[in-house]
């Protein structure tokens, strides 16, 4: 039972953390990334398709190529957000929302195309795949490769954000872009960097969500709200990598309740419908954000298109 709880908590925790870290890079550079949900969908779709294509190759090849492709697909999709909000100075929230809606539609069309036989578009957007190459058993606990990828990316994210030139400049652009520009920092370039990193991490996060636990996914459902939950994790985690990790773990406990409710005796006795458990993380996010968001400190310049001449 504990092993099961741990498995799901780690699984969801890594997903939420990866996507929230992505959101963090974008927002720290000054661009609100509400498109995380859509980015996850695209990342998941491309990752799954590549995995299907690579059946029969060595496990290492399958994992590395499909994860990389999922990330790159998310990055490419995030490019749309970057272009709209940085070059066209579009409203970032509206742009992000549009991308979310678009992503599910794109994913359905492509998934149906993949399923179709003989030139006729299939009715089902449900893709089947095998996750064998991604899952291992260590000391009786089933873990998947994303645990290691996640921890590695967490450490890398922390170092990049706080210990490198890129991180210092990126954070300056999210707080006071005029100041950054006055010392020669390329604000638009930094914001592109932030959004594209968020696309990469978000794409991997989407893939990590659907792949290791089940062997089929219906893209009609998009990514089931995980992207929005990741936004809550990012805010609860105060745009800080380590706090985001802890926040992700906190939320994933609620998320995994649904998966373990049947097998935990005292929860099973309650006989709550599954929907209650599915609601848990969202209810938790409402409660937590209501209690903490007053104190939260978002990057000061996020959401504001950068204009050079502004006083």
């Amino acid at each position: 039972m504990i092993a099961l709880a741990l498995k799901f908590t780690l699984l969801y925790g890594m997903v939420l953390m990866l996507v929230a870290l992505g959101g963090m890079f974008s927002e720290r550079s000054g661009i609100i990334n509400i498109a995380l949900e859509g980015i996850m969908v695209i990342g998941a779709l491309i990752g799954v398709i590549i995995t299907r294509e690579l059946q029969g190759y060595a496990g290492f090849v399958q994992v590395s190529v499909s994860v990389l492709c999922a990330g790159l697909a998310g990055l490419a999709y995030a490019f749309l957000l970057a272009f709209a909000s940085i070059n066209l100075k579009a409203d970032q929230t509206i742009g992000g929302t549009a991308l979310n809606i678009l992503a599910t539609a794109i994913a359905m069309v492509i998934a149906k195309r993949v399923n179709s036989v003989g030139g006729k578009l299939s009715d089902s957007a449900r893709l089947k795949y095998s996750y064998d190459a991604f899952v291992y058993k260590i000391f009786g606990v089933t873990v998947n490769v994303f645990l290691f990828i996640g921890i590695a990316l967490l450490i890398i994210s922390y170092i990049v954000l706080y210990k490198t030139k890129l991180g210092l400049r990126l954070r300056a652009c999210g707080e006071h872009p005029q100041a950054a520009n006055s010392v020669g920092v390329n604000v638009l370039g930094m914001r592109y960097t932030g959004v594209l990193i968020s696309g990469f991490l978000g794409g991997i996060g989407g893939f990590a969500y659907i792949l290791p636990s089940i062997d089929t996914w219906d893209f009609k459902n998009g990514i089931a709200g995980m992207g929005f939950l990741a936004l809550a994790v990012m805010i609860f985690g105060q745009w800080h990598p380590i706090k985001i990790f802890l926040a992700a773990m906190f939320f994933s406990i609620f998320k995994s309740l649904a998966n373990i409710a049947d097998s935990v005796s005292f929860l099973a006795k309650l006989r709550w419908p599954k929907e209650i458990y599915n609601m848990m993380p969202f209810i938790a996010s409402i409660v937590v954000l209501t209690l903490t968001s007053g104190k939260s400190r978002a990057p000061k310049a996020e959401g504001i298109p950068y204009e050079k001449g502004q006083r």
């Binding site: 300056a172 950054a180 006055s182 001449g309």
Partner: protein, 523 residues
């Protein structure tokens, strides 16, 4: 031939609707302190932004050491060792002092930031030039004076030897200004060249070697400071003679308009009260000035009077009515006008047009509204009227977005809005902060005209010169209490200074009684 490090020749820069620089030439010698003088909106900041690479000139040429250079962005400027301290500091609040200094000029090892070396260099510069900073403090936690030292260190860290300072003294206390001037002289002795934007004539006379003057975007001339006078400079700047003294008729106090009794206001910064049981009256037709060193409760007192903060005890009577707990709108409708201390925070909606800002106090009156709709034409014509009466200059008239206007014109817009109502009491807080002599003169005139028309004026100012020349009565505040009441005719600046510093105080009840009898108490 003179040894010019920087020459800006025939620079022209046009913005939509405004020619900010029109054939301007500026030549900077090695090791000199060169003042750039001009009214608000004369194009000084634009010219400096061109030199710093933030704007590209439409025409003209920039030379460094006699060679033509193209400065496309701040990196180019930096490569030519040109550094700039902007009027509004370009510092990231949540970064440490050290991070702010190294931002954009970071040193790395294996891709990681190498801060030890940077810290050593910053501390060495800090000691060498007497620029004391705490490298680990967050910028949001340090004083404005220290923030400016951080900005100067940013330039020194980049080995800049052409230093542009955009209105560096506007935010400093008199002591900090003296320190800054000493530091500037030190730079000049080392052969660094300083371009120093200001509209304060005293500072130019005190510290600069030469001075160039701009007026409405045009170059007027360059003079040697030692061969000129304040009068000549101000004539060059404004284009006419400016009087430094304020002409006003003797004060004829009327009825009590504002009566404050035992007012206590809690502090936002600490658990003590910011204002401790203060009592005073302001009569129709007199200017009462609250003097004091910043942070002695004057601002909190004004916030409580205008309704922006709540008083915890005491009573405010306005025209005989108790308004201690009245909402702001009610106070305004009763005839209280307020020129706020922070014009960006409390004076204007920065992203609104000028016309909408000007009708902020009146848009709900029948003249400007019917059936819940705003009469845009009326608002527009009203704004045009105020703009011409108060000489508010902007690029697109009533349609200009307030944020895009210069500080002086933003202030004139507020003064116009606040005075053009049936005002019984004007509460003016530092109404001329950061303005040039021309704008100061016109705002002073407006305030005196209001007084002569029977308005009671409560003025809060940190500038002693302004306190002495404008007021009919001076109240000195120290640590939340009124410690002295004076007639400006019978007191010296030095004497006021003693009270402001807390070194002397009057018996206030006696003073108030004396004032009530029409006499003036002396310590």
């Amino acid at each position: 031939m003179d040894d010019y490090v920087i020459e800006m020749l025939h620079i022209t820069k046009t913005f939509p609707g405004i020619r900010a620089n029109d054939d301007v030439t500026l030549q900077l010698k090695r090791g000199e302190i060169h003042a750039l003088l001009g009214e608000n909106g004369a194009g000084k900041s634009t010219l400096m932004s061109v030199l710093f690479g933030l704007y590209q000139p439409d025409s003209g040429e920039i030379r460094k050491d006699g060679k033509t250079v193209h400065i496309k962005d701040p990196n180019d400027a930096n490569a030519l060792h040109i550094g700039m301290v902007h009027q509004h500091f370009k510092l990231v609040d949540v970064f440490s002092v050290l991070d702010n200094i190294i931002l954009g000029a970071e040193t790395t090892k294996y891709g990681l930031l190498k801060k030890d070396e940077a810290r050593r260099k910053v501390m060495e510069l800090s000691q060498r030039y007497g620029l004391m900073v705490d490298p680990d403090a967050l910028v949001e936690d340090i004083s404005v004076g220290m923030q400016q030292r951080v900005e100067i260190l940013k330039m020194l860290y980049r080995d800049n030897d052409i230093l542009i300072l955009d209105e560096p003294t506007a935010v400093l206390t008199p002591q900090e200004i003296d320190e800054l001037m000493e530091i500037m002289r030190g730079f000049a002795r080392e052969g660094k060249s300083i371009l120093f934007i200001t509209h304060k004539l005293n500072e130019i006379m005190a510290v600069s070697d030469r001075c160039s003057v701009l007026r409405k975007g045009k170059y007027i001339g360059t003079v040697e400071t030692k061969d000129t006078t304040k009068e000549e400079l101000s004539r060059m700047m404004v284009g006419r003679d400016v009087s430094f003294t304020v002409d006003k008729a003797p004060c004829k106090p009327g009825d009590t308009v504002l009566s404050v009794q035992g007012l206590t206001v809690p502090s936002k910064l600490h658990s003590n009260n910011a204002v401790k049981g203060v009592s005073f009256d302001v009569h129709a037709g007199e200017i009462v000035c609250l003097a004091g060193i910043e942070g002695n409760g004057q601002s909190d007192l004004v916030l409580a009077l205008t309704g922006l903060e709540k008083a915890s005890a005491g009573k405010i009577e306005f025209c005989g009515k108790d308004i201690t707990h009245s909402p702001i709108r009610k106070r305004a409708l009763a005839g209280m006008s307020h020129i706020p201390e922070d014009r960006h925070k409390h004076g204007l909606v920065l992203d609104y047009s000028l016309e909408n800002n000007m009708s902020l106090q009146r848009y709900f009156e029948p003249e400007f509204e019917s059936l819940g709709f705003i009469k845009q034409k009326k608002v527009h014509s009203y704004a045009e009227k105020l703009i011409s009466e108060y000489d508010v200059r902007s690029a697109e008239g009533p349609y200009t977005i307030a944020r895009a206007m210069s500080g002086g014109n933003q202030q004139k817009a507020i003064v116009g809005r606040e005075l053009d109502r049936r005002t019984k009491l004007l509460v003016a807080v530092q109404p001329t902060r950061g303005l040039d002599v021309g704008a100061i003169e016109s705002i002073h005139k407006e305030i005196i005209a209001a007084r002569d028309a029977g308005t009671a004026v409560l003025l809060m100012s940190l500038e002693l010169e302004e306190v002495m020349s404008l007021s009919d009565r001076i109240l000195v505040m120290y640590e939340g209490e009124i410690v002295g009441e004076f007639d400006p005719q019978k007191v010296t600046v030095q004497e006021l200074g003693l009270y402001m510093a807390g070194a002397a105080r009057q018996d206030i009840s006696a003073a108030s009684d004396a004032a009530a009898r029409g006499g003036i108490a002396n310590a």
